[in-house]
């Protein structure tokens, strides 16, 4: 981690918080903080990524602005998280993608859609593209199966590789000397990830929009996250159908891939729309305004992926299918390409931070009066 104004602020905040500790019931950040007396830049990167941005600490803080100590952890930690995304990005020359990430992701989305549409139009004759297709293989009449699968596989595998490298870079800095990964720690971390325990403000909800508590953000994120996983499951099942069972898409409305995909798409739409609404209507003070673009771009991209998928499903037996398929695949292409260079990476670093937390909680005692 590079020393910046944000890390300097965060270090001062952590020293104040460590002398106060009123917020220790809210989330993992404060118990993790209590294990330390001094905060290296690596520690701050770890704590910032452990922060789920529930903002409970901001509204409870007797030292929040306009107090002269001016503590604003949610905002500063968001800035440091973005710094982590940039510094640990792989390959390093692409770190700059995180500097104007809203622009990068939205331009990629536009270009992804345009590229697939243009290529499809150049490739196919208008009567194929605009014609109604029915029966097995109708999608592949418009975009050849092998083109679809090879581009999808290459981009997705690349994304996984880049994310794994980011994880490794972060791990090397933040997990140093914390002890080995044990089964119990891994289990704890997975449980924290899948339940978003730290987005419950100690069991009573977070300050999603203002000083009132709610669990909206946690539930909306669940809709989005599990919606995403259902879509992924849908694709996986379809792959098995195609390769091992020889059943070629499109599938029946009540078939497993369609049911999973439809549920996932609806979940994604509810989650992303709700999270956008929270961002627009919530108190702006504990947020880093300069990062709003990146957040919004990814939310919109995910919403588009779900929306275009559902529309495609609805109109797949009409003449609109060809164009809709090209648009949907353009969105998915953009999603895969920007996966390691968008807010998506937060999951990787958050997961790593939660795992480190689970490890160090098992090994260390708090650093107060011994």
């Amino acid at each position: 981690m590079r020393a910046t104004e944000a890390t300097a602020d965060a270090r001062r905040y952590m020293e104040i918080c460590n002398a106060c500790r009123y917020c220790e019931g809210y989330c993992a950040v404060f118990p993790a903080m209590e294990l330390r007396r001094e905060f290296t830049d690596g520690d701050l990167g770890y704590l910032a990524n452990l922060c789920h941005n529930c903002r409970g600490c901001f509204y409870a803080c007797q030292y929040a602005p306009p107090h002269e100590f001016g503590i604003n952890l949610p905002k500063t930690f968001a800035q440091i998280r973005n710094q982590t995304y940039e510094e640990y990005a792989w390959p390093p020359p692409l770190a700059g993608m995180f500097r104007r990430n809203g622009l990068v992701v939205s331009m990629s989305t536009a270009l992804g859609i345009a590229a697939v549409l243009i290529l499809t139009m150049l490739w196919q004759s208008p009567d194929v593209l605009y014609g109604a297709h029915t029966g097995a293989g109708s999608f592949y009449a418009v975009i050849p199966y092998h083109a679809m699968v090879s581009v999808g596989t290459v981009t997705f595998v690349y994304a996984l590789l880049a994310l794994a490298m980011g994880f490794a870079n972060f791990w090397r800095d933040a997990a140093k000397g914390k002890g080995a990964v044990e089964g119990a720690s891994l289990l704890q971390a997975l449980c924290d990830i899948f339940t978003l325990r730290n987005l419950s403000g100690g069991g009573h909800g977070c300050n999603d929009r203002d000083e009132a508590f709610s669990e909206s953000r946690r539930w909306l994120h669940h809709f989005m996250f599990y919606g995403f996983l259902l879509c992924f499951a849908s694709t996986s099942v379809a792959t098995i159908y195609h390769h091992w069972l020889g059943w070629v898409a499109p599938y029946e409305l009540l078939s497993l891939p369609v049911v999973l995909g439809t549920a996932g798409g609806i979940g994604l739409l509810i989650g992303t729309a709700g999270l956008i609404w929270l961002k627009v209507t919530g108190d702006q003070e504990p947020t880093a305004r300069e990062l709003l673009g990146a957040d919004m771009a990814l939310l919109v991209l995910l919403a588009l992926a779900a929306f275009t998928g559902l529309i495609l499903l609805g109109l797949r037996s009409t003449g609109a299918m060809g164009v809709l398929l090209a648009i949907h695949l353009g969105v998915i292409l953009a999603l895969f390409l920007t996966l390691p260079y968008s807010k998506m990476v937060h999951g990787v670093y958050r997961g790593a931070a939660l795992l480190i937390y689970a490890i160090e909680k098992r090994h260390a005692a708090p650093a107060h009066a011994e």
Partner: protein, 465 residues
């Protein structure tokens, strides 16, 4: 929109815990309520926003309190810290109510923390607010707003006009403009006068200029002074305040908990003349924590320095300000602006007087000095392992004891002994009736909550009849 031509059932003066409990209770009883907070919204809540817990009697373990804390034990604790300077009937009523009020607090959105780490182990006697006092204050404001209590920030109450023990009307400055407020009943919950340095000077002289105020700068005692001038009976020693030694680098106001420093028992304390002045190891820190403010206030320039060596640094919770560090005592003296030769001599004399013993920071150990004045009777170890560290300390005022006398119905008592017609009081402004001296962690919040509820209910009952 607040309509100043409207006569409210209940006017609550103040915006901290006691005021909010009164306002919510009165509103729940059906009264129309106006609450006036002197501070702007960001600093609302008086000293309550710096608090963390609530001392609660309980017969059996609860989700947030361990073991049991009986009425008798609670009363014994109170009797001990106040040296009997309390009112047994009011105190016992407060203690008993403290065991019943938590469900109401939770209904109002207050959340408690399940268990606690940290230095002071209070989870048997005190329930900790999740997120601390500001989170509690936020919850109460949200509830008050939801119930329809009218709230004005940036509004200072200038005068409660009293006639024969009856408040006829109230003049205020609301967002900079003079206004008159009329209400059938008034609850004064506007705290003490600890942020009024001029008033403190009446008792402490110029030394008060060097005092730090740990909490809100809005506790100027204007309402208290106004009421006492109009024949409300005072209670509590006007010259006394709860005063602890805090890090001298703290902000003048609102430094709160992080300026606290627990180094004294492991250190030697010297004044500006580099001389020791009191036994640093007299008793365990929680029992001696509150005397060092006064001791420091009595030193020249109202400043003292806590000095430890490398082996002691990790034994205590530091304040938020970094320790001043040096490799020799002389260098440390220079950094502190003290006479180097004199500090070296003080440390040398102290080191020579330290007797061998088995150090144990958890008990009153046998590490002590011999032939030294003043002695250090526990945890005395030589200061000989560089680097050396120092923290400067000044008196930090938490609250003042002077208040208005109330009866068990929270009604203010006039000098002639008769209860006021329509004036009630809750919180710090009447706490001297129960806590006349000393301090019991979390008891201020208990008094504020219990009397806030009584004052609110009584004021509403009076206004609605």
């Amino acid at each position: 929109m607040v309509d100043f031509s409207h006569t409210y059932d209940v006017l609550v003066v103040g915006g901290g815990n006691a005021a909010l409990c009164a306002a919510i209770t009165a509103r729940q009883a059906g009264a129309s309520v106006l609450l006036l907070e002197h501070a702007p919204k960001a600093f609302r809540g008086g000293n309550s926003r710096h608090t963390r817990n609530f001392r609660s009697m309980h017969e059996a373990p609860t989700a947030v309190l361990t073991e049991a804390y009986s009425e008798e034990e609670y009363w014994d604790d109170l009797k001990r810290v106040t040296g009997g300077n309390t009112d047994e009937a009011l105190a016992r009523m407060t203690i008993r109510e403290s065991s019943k009020v938590m469900p109401w607090m939770m209904d109002c959105g207050v959340r408690f923390q399940p268990s606690l780490t940290g230095t002071l182990n209070l989870s048997r006697t005190n329930a900790f607010f999740l997120g601390g006092g500001k989170a509690l204050v936020n919850a109460y404001y949200l509830t008050a707003e939801r119930l329809g209590v009218d709230i004005l920030y940036d509004t200072e109450v200038r005068e409660l006009h009293m006639q024969d023990g009856f408040v006829t009307h109230v003049t205020v400055t609301a967002h900079g403009f003079p206004e008159t407020v009329r209400a059938k009943a008034i609850v004064a919950a506007s705290g003490g006068f600890q942020a009024n340095i001029e008033w403190l000077k009446e008792y402490w002289g110029a030394a008060a200029d060097n005092f730090l105020i740990r909490g809100t700068p809005y506790a100027k005692g204007g309402v208290l002074k106004n009421l006492l001038a109009q024949g409300v009976q005072p209670i509590g020693d006007p010259t006394q305040c709860h005063c602890v030694a805090i890090d001298a680098r703290a902000p003048k106001f609102d430094g709160g908990i992080v300026t606290r420093l627990d180094s004294v028992p492991f250190s030697i304390m010297v004044n500006q003349d580099a001389e020791r002045f009191y036994d640093e190891g007299e008793d365990v820190w929680p029992k001696r924590y509150a005397i060092w403010g006064r001791l420091t206030a009595q030193q020249p320039g109202q400043i003292a320095y806590s000095i430890v060596d490398a082996k002691c640094l990790k034994l205590f919770m530091p304040s938020v300000f970094p320790a001043i560090k040096a490799d020799s005592i002389a260098e440390l003296a220079k950094k502190l602006g003290l006479d180097a030769a004199k500090l070296e001599q003080t440390v040398k004399t102290y080191n020579a007087a330290v007797r061998p013993g088995t150090f144990n920071d958890k008990i009153l150990d046998d590490c002590r000095t011999e032939g030294l004045t003043p002695p250090k009777t526990h945890w005395a170890r030589r200061i000989d392992e560089p680097p050396y560290y120092a923290y400067p300390l000044r008196p930090g005022i938490t609250f003042t004891y002077l208040g208005v006398k109330v009866n068990e119905r929270a009604r203010a008592i006039m000098k002639d002994g008769k209860p006021s017609g329509n004036l009630f009081a809750s919180g710090e402004i009447m706490a001297g009736s129960i806590l006349g001296k000393g301090y019991l962690a979390g008891f201020g919040m208990t008094i504020g909550t219990v009397f806030g509820r009584i004052a609110g209910a009584e004021a509403a009952k009076y206004a609605r009849n």
